[in-house]
Amino acid sequence: MSFDIVATYAVAVFLFIGAIFALIGVIGLLKFNDPMTRLHAPTKVGTVGIGALLLASILYFDTFHDGSIHELLIMAFLFVTAPISSNFIAKVIIHQGTCETPPEPVTECTWSTLGSPNRKSDVVEALDHTPE
């Protein structure tokens, strides 16, 4: 078995993995019943699904054409930006109050994203508790 045959089988396996994870992510997006729960399903597509598809692309072009690893750039960009966009979406869900209220933090302040300057009482409270 030469390297080409192994690489071709690996391309097929990575393609199957990516397709399965894309399907899993969208099933989670459709079937879960709370916005904050729905948030976690598509992150699997963003990391494992697209990561497997890009790995398959790298292996394919390495085997059948002159290889290069350009696709690692897309993978790195997606891995860096996925948590940031998820954080922003979670902020939107919390601020609109469409999810369950998160548990109270152990300190006396509220969660930092909820303690916006619009709530005067929180700001005054926080200022009162600052150590001199």
Partner: protein
């Protein structure tokens, strides 16, 4: 070698079909999503699936030409997700 190539072609077609189905189903969530967060999430997922489709198209045609569009879609998708979320949060994008 021919069996391996046949399996790879089958996997490529399967991945095309499955990612396209995933794209359509996330469009369903975009339509029915009760809250704004769900709609932003569905748009983000559609961008990710579009990157997958572009990469698969590049493999299918055997050309490297589709690398730059995939990177552009990734960047624009991130910026548009953040802009949409910020607009909902603040009512303004660049303060």
């Amino acid at each position: 070698m021919s069996a391996a190539i046949e399996l790879m072609n089958f996997a490529l077609i399967t991945a095309f079909i499955v990612v396209a189905i995933s794209q359509m189903l996330s469009m369903v969530r975009l339509f029915i999503g009760p809250t704004t967060g769900d709609r932003i999430l569905a748009l983000d997922m559609m961008v990710v699936n579009a990157i997958g489709l572009i990469v698969l198209l590049g493999m299918w045609q055997g050309t490297r030409m589709y690398f730059e569009p995939a990177l552009l879609v990734a960047m624009l998708g991130f910026v548009s997700t953040v802009a949409y979320a910020r607009f909902v949060l603040r009512g303004d994008i660049i303060e």
